[in-house]
C-alpha cells in the first residue's frame, strides 16, 4: 500500500501510477450520510475491489465515480487532473465505462446493437455525414464493427449476436453488459456486482473473463462484489467499507487479517 512506484505483480502484470484518486469524498442524501470522508486511489492496470456489507455505500461510491451522484464534499482526480462535476455521459466520454447491479441493457435491441452503442463515444462523424451514410459514416461503422466483433469473440457470445437482449437469460445479459462496456475500450472499467445472482459455473466464467480483460488489454478495473472468496482471488487491492466509512484498504491478505473488517463481516455491536 505504501508503495507508489510502478511495479510488476507476481503473475507478471504491470501496475502503473495512480489513475483515479478519490479524496475525502462525502455524499449525503438529505440527513443520511451514505459516504463519510473516504479517500482511496485506483492504479493503472490493477483490479481494485470495493467490498462491504449491505448498505455500506459501495454502489454509491461507484455512482460517484461514474457521475450519477455528486458528492457534497471531496475531490475526484482522474489521470492527474481534478475532475469538475460531470454528467454521466461526460464521464463515459472520458473513458470510464460501467455495468450496473441490476443490468441496464437496451432490451429491445439486438446483442450486436447493444454492444455497438458502447462504441458511440468513439464515433465522430456528424449528423449530416450520418444522414448521407455512404462514405465516411459507412467506413466508420465498419471500423467500429470490427472492434465489436473482437469483443464478441473474446467473451464467447458469437451465437447470440442477433438475439434481442430481452430474450436472454440473466447470466448472458450480464456478459453482454460487460461486452458493451468493453467495446468502449475504457481506461477504467467499473463493475457493480458482476457476479450477483449467478450460479457457481457462471461465476467462474465471469471471474475468468474479468482476469482475461485485465491481463490481455491491461484495462484497469474497479469492482464491487459481495462474494468474499471471489474478491480475494481476483483483486490486487481491496477497499472495505462499512456504514459509509472506510475500515480497511490493502492487499487481500492485509484486509483479511484486519480486525475491524472481521468485525464488520461477522457482526459486532456498534457502540
Amino acid at each position: 500500500m505504501a508503495q507508489t512506484e510502478p511495479y510488476i505483480t507476481a503473475d507478471g502484470r504491470q501496475i502503473g501510477g495512480v489513475l483515479m484518486d478519490m479524496r475525502g469524498i462525502t455524499l449525503r442524501f438529505g440527513g443520511v450520510e451514505a459516504i463519510k470522508n473516504i479517500s482511496f486511489d485506483i492504479r493503472e492496470g490493477e483490479i481494485r475491489a470495493i467490498i462491504g456489507p449491505n448498505g455500506a455505500g459501495k454502489s454509491s461510491m461507484l455512482n460517484v465515480i461514474s457521475g450519477f451522484y455528486h458528492p457534497q464534499d471531496g475531490e475526484v482526480w482522474f489521470r492527474g487532473e481534478k475532475r469538475k462535476p460531470m454528467k454521466p455521459y461526460q464521464v463515459a466520454r472520458l473513458g470510464i465505462a460501467r455495468t450496473f447491479q441490476n443490468i441496464a441493457l437496451f432490451e429491445g435491441m439486438s446483442v450486436l446493437d447493444n454492444i455497438m452503442t458502447g462504441r458511440l463515444t468513439h464515433m465522430k462523424t456528424g449528423l449530416l455525414a450520418q444522414a448521407v451514410w455512404k462514405g465516411r459514416a459507412e467506413r466508420e461503422e465498419v471500423a467500429n464493427r470490427e472492434i465489436v466483433e473482437k469483443v464478441i469473440d473474446f467473451l464467447e457470445i458469437q451465437a447470440i449476436r442477433k438475439t434481442p437482449v430481452g430474450r436472454l437469460p440473466y447470466g448472458l445479459k450480464k456478459r453482454v453488459e460487460l461486452a458493451r462496456a468493453l467495446a468502449a475500450e475504457p481506461k477504467l472499467l467499473l463493475l457493480d456486482e458482476p457476479m450477483a445472482g449467478m450460479n457457481v459455473e457462471e461465476k467462474e466464467d465471469m471471474s475468468r473473463f474479468i482476469l482475461d480483460v485485465n491481463d490481455e488489454f491491461g484495462t484497469t478495473i474497479a469492482l464491487i462484489e459481495h462474494d468474499m472468496g471471489v474478491v480475494m482471488d481476483l483483486s490486487d487491492r481491496v477497499v472495505v467499507m462499512d456504514y459509509g466509512r472506510k475500515i480497511g484498504d490493502g492487499t487481500p491478505d492485509e484486509v483479511r487479517n484486519n480486525q475491524e473488517v472481521i468485525d464488520a463481516y461477522l457482526g459486532v455491536a456498534h457502540e
Partner: protein
C-alpha cells in the same frame, strides 16, 4: 364486377390515403413519446406553426410585422420578394430545429424526472404559447400554400379504371393531392426508419428510448437526443401541416388535427412507429367504409366525426396497449 363493389373499393383506397395523413400526425407523437415519455399535446400546433412559417417565408412576409408597426409606427408588411419553395422549406426546417432546441433548453431541461402529468401540462402550455407566437409572427388570416401541389381528381386513374365496371361505373375518383401526400409520407417514414436503424444517432435514439440510465452510461447526452427527436417531430409536423394545409388552407383550426391523431395512437400504441402507420390506415379506412355502408344510408351521415373515437374506445376496453404497443404486465 358490380358498380357497388367497385365504389366500395374506391372508398377503401380513399380511406387508406386519408389514413396516411392521420398516421403522419400520429408519427410526430410517437417519436417524442418513445424517446422522452412526453405526450406532446403541441404536435398539432407545431404542424400549424410549421405551415404558417413556410407560407410566410415563401411570400416574403415580415415576421412580427404587426408588433413592429405598433411599436415603431411603421407600416411594413412584406420584404417584397418571393422565396423559392425549396429554399423556404429548408429555412422552415431550420426554424423547427431552432424551436426544438428552445423547447429543450427553456422548458424540458428543467423538468427532467418530473411526473408524466407535469410534462403533459407543460406541452399544453407550449401548445397555446406556440399558437400565440404563430399569430403574432404571421397574422391570423387563412393562407394558401402555393407549393404547386396538384389538386382535384386524377383524370388518368378515372379513365384507366372506368372500363372495370358496367355502365353505372365511371371510374375511381382519386384525389391527386392525396396521392402525393401518401407518397411523401411513405418516403418520410422509410427515411425515418432507415435513420433509426443504420445511423449512429439513430442507434443512440433507440438506446434512449429503451433505457435512459444505460444510455447515459455509454456516453449519450439525453438532451442532444431530445433536441434531435423534437427536430424530427418538427419536420414530420411540417410535412403534415403542408399536406393538411394544402387540402383546407393554412388556418388555426389546423391544430385540431392533433385530436384526430389520438384515436390512431390508441389503436397503434404510443410507442410503435409501424403502429402509428397501421393505426392511421385502420382509422382512415374504417371511418370511410362505415360512412359508406352504414353511416350514410342508416344514420344520417357525418359519422366520420365520431367513428374514430368510438373505435378507439372499444380498443381501450379490450386492448389498452394498442395493436403494437408494449404489453402492460404488472408483477405481483
Amino acid at each position: 364486377m358490380s358498380a357497388e363493389f367497385l365504389y366500395g373499393i374506391e372508398v377503401v383506397i380513399n380511406g387508406l390515403m386519408a389514413g396516411v395523413l392521420y398516421a403522419l400526425v400520429a408519427l410526430g407523437f410517437v417519436l417524442i413519446f418513445k424517446a422522452s415519455g412526453i405526450f406532446n399535446f403541441a404536435q398539432g400546433v407545431m404542424a400549424l406553426f410549421a405551415a404558417l412559417t413556410l407560407v410566410g417565408i415563401m411570400e416574403g412576409q415580415v415576421p412580427f410585422s404587426h408588433l413592429i408597426n405598433a411599436i415603431f409606427g411603421t407600416s411594413i408588411h412584406s420584404f417584397g420578394w418571393q422565396v423559392p419553395a425549396v429554399l423556404a422549406i429548408f429555412l422552415t426546417v431550420l426554424v423547427m430545429i431552432g424551436f426544438a432546441w428552445a423547447v429543450q433548453y427553456f422548458v424540458f431541461r428543467h423538468l427532467v424526472g418530473q411526473e408524466p402529468i407535469i410534462l403533459f401540462m407543460a406541452t399544453i402550455g407550449l401548445a397555446y404559447f406556440l399558437e400565440g407566437v404563430g399569430d403574432l409572427m404571421w397574422g391570423s388570416g387563412i393562407r394558401t400554400i402555393a407549393l404547386g401541389l396538384p389538386q382535384g381528381g386524377s383524370l388518368w386513374v378515372e379513365e384507366l379504371s372506368s372500363g372495370l365496371g358496367g355502365d353505372d361505373f365511371y371510374g375511381f375518383f382519386i384525389d391527386k393531392l392525396d396521392m402525393v401526400a401518401s407518397l411523401v409520407a411513405l418516403v418520410l417514414v422509410a427515411g425515418l426508419v432507415a435513420f433509426a436503424q443504420y445511423t449512429k444517432q439513430g442507434r443512440a435514439m433507440r438506446a434512449v428510448a429503451d433505457d435512459h440510465q444505460a444510455a447515459l452510461s455509454v456516453g449519450i447526452s439525453l438532451s442532444y437526443i431530445w433536441v434531435l427527436v423534437w427536430s424530427l417531430a418538427g419536420i414530420v409536423a411540417l410535412v403534415a401541416g403542408v399536406m393538411w394545409g394544402a387540402k383546407s388552407g393554412v388556418q388555426f383550426s389546423l391544430s385540431l388535427i392533433a385530436l384526430k391523431a389520438l384515436p390512431v395512437l390508441m389503436l397503434g400504441g404510443f410507442t410503435s412507429i409501424p403502429g402509428a402507420i397501421v393505426g392511421g390506415m385502420i382509422i382512415g379506412v374504417g371511418e370511410k367504409l362505415f360512412e359508406y355502408t352504414i353511416g350514410a344510408p342508416f344514420l344520417g351521415g357525418a359519422t366520420e366525426n365520431w367513428f374514430a373515437y368510438m373505435l378507439a374506445l372499444i380498443f381501450l376496453v379490450f386492448r389498452p396497449q394498442g395493436l403494437f404497443g408494449e404489453r402492460i404486465i404488472e408483477r405481483v
